[in-house]
Point group: D3
Chain length 131, copies 6
């Protein structure tokens, strides 16, 4: 249905299967979502993407839920249907309440609106905003 | 420099000046940034934008810093130079540390990358992600 | 300053100069804006772009001012600084008043906002909207 | 099917139902499209969005059909499937003929093309275009 | 299903049918894909689009497969589902191997990531990059 | 001038300086462009971005010039000024001729145009394009 077929555990290479096993271990679930099954056509790209994602989304100065909200925001601005669905689901799993979801959407919508207004106005950046 | 000139306090209408005064009061500063000075050409649009922004960015289920991070993320994905500058400055003012800024950028970059990969793969949405 | 230098009348090929002359005749001005001076590096692309633009923007079922408003709207949504400036100037030259400019921006901003909300909600298209 | 379920009249809050009733009255139809049924999860966001949309799209210096054409243009540039469908349907309902639709698409396509060319060329903005 | 119905050979105008016949001849297949069947509602737009596409995608300084890879890259960045599918299919038909597909996606993803990082950082362009 | 200052060799951490030295060695030049000097504020992000970029842009099934053309195409579609400049310069350094540049721009512009037309038409994907 995509530009490459989704690969089952039986169809992937040993390198790809090793990534699947890591995903299962880290996420504590047997479920491997379609993104990884599509990426598995290129085990090197699968490995690099997973390794980096795991690191970027780990707890740090920002907590994992805040990172998921940011991920949903970027995915929405980029119009990525799959990513909006998968990261909204992840945010809910990490504790996003309906109230937080509503506020997230309100901020995303507000930002999209003022982004468009500023671009239409071509407002010059205030000197005080520059480092 | 933009598609409309920036208006000084002396040049704006009474309705626009009233909005400027509210911005000064809420933000506890005399400074009115260029976005509002450009929008002041249309007092109704200025009023509606400010009223809504004030409400959306107020503390709620999400705290104001998290809301600013989301605003920066959307503005970056939309490629809005002015908005990236103004909301990054606002996030710093609300407590964003260099470590948080670095992680924010890392999540934005990661999301942009996987958004692009999923779109190139046209991966179908997993049934389990749909409500 | 761009990725190719701007070409003066003396530097362009005969084919490109012929397009410049047509632009001057149709627009009844000597002024050739930078877009054409950059495109002139590829006379075939210059010719094809001008020929098509002239046709698309001619009076038809939609009048030229409405077409310019649509052009500004698309350019704003695409974040094209040059295009926002040049087509806003063209719209003003064709009769866009400050009131119309304000309403144009309000619609662009509103559309950007609801586009983002719908994308974040992933709302399914109503059957009645499909032809 | 979206990131939140669509709510029926029976499932929404009193505040949300009041907005539904206004939509029905203004549009003179019983039909409430899915966007509003999804937004109803957050009655405050629903109210704010509807109130602003009603105002922005009302007759003014630009007529309602021109506003719908601009809405379709922005929605297309932003790649919002739902919005392209809903606002194309609204434009048809307000009098957009097949000829106007064809010209709208031609302008949108032309703008997207020259936006991309200018961005690839990084053409500097002509001084004469700046206010 | 789209905003206009798809037209069969029997339903299109003589001008549109002539374009269909050219597409069949150039591509050496009877198959006319949906894009052309939708565009056929506006025979002038159909003709202009086909004439230009044929020219732009012809062998030149860049070979046709490289042009298809670029087309897929732009379509992916623009989030156009139909275009990603149709041009990925075209690239495969012109010789894109699974290894090339994987590298194409990796470059698209990398570019999307660094585009976002640069935009978030608002890095000024190095003087040496300007012509 | 950006959202973080550019760091000189003297100001960066030892980890960041090590990345700078690798960039100098791989590219056989002393020049470190601003992107890396901005990223150096977050040595981990600098390291991860450089390591991945080096790998993705290395010769493989696609040659390095083709990869640069794809990078320019994505950067143009995403409207990233810095990236268009830096990767156009890189493409020229790797052998992109003015003819190739003109064709690259023509394909980018054509793709942007048909992406917009398809989105406006909401054309359903042909079954034969799906894997």
């Amino acid at each position: 249905m995509g530009t490459v077929p989704l690969l089952s555990d039986e169809e992937v290479s040993a390198e790809a299967l090793a990534v699947f096993e890591e995903i299962r271990k880290v996420r504590q679930t047997d479920f491997i979502n379609n993104f990884w099954r599509a990426l598995a056509h290129d085990p090197e790209l699968l490995r690099a993407t997973w390794d980096r994602l795991k690191m970027v989304m780990a707890p740090g100065a920002l907590d994992p839920l805040v990172k998921e909200l940011i991920y949903v925001a970027v995915s929405t601005a980029n119009g990525c249907e799959y990513c909006v669905h998968s990261h909204t689901a992840a945010a809910k799993a990490k504790g996003m309440t309906p109230e937080m979801h509503g506020e997230l959407l309100a901020v995303i919508g507000m930002a999209a609106q003022t982004n468009a207004l500023v671009t239409g106005l071509q407002t010059p950046v205030d000197e005080s905003f520059r480092t």
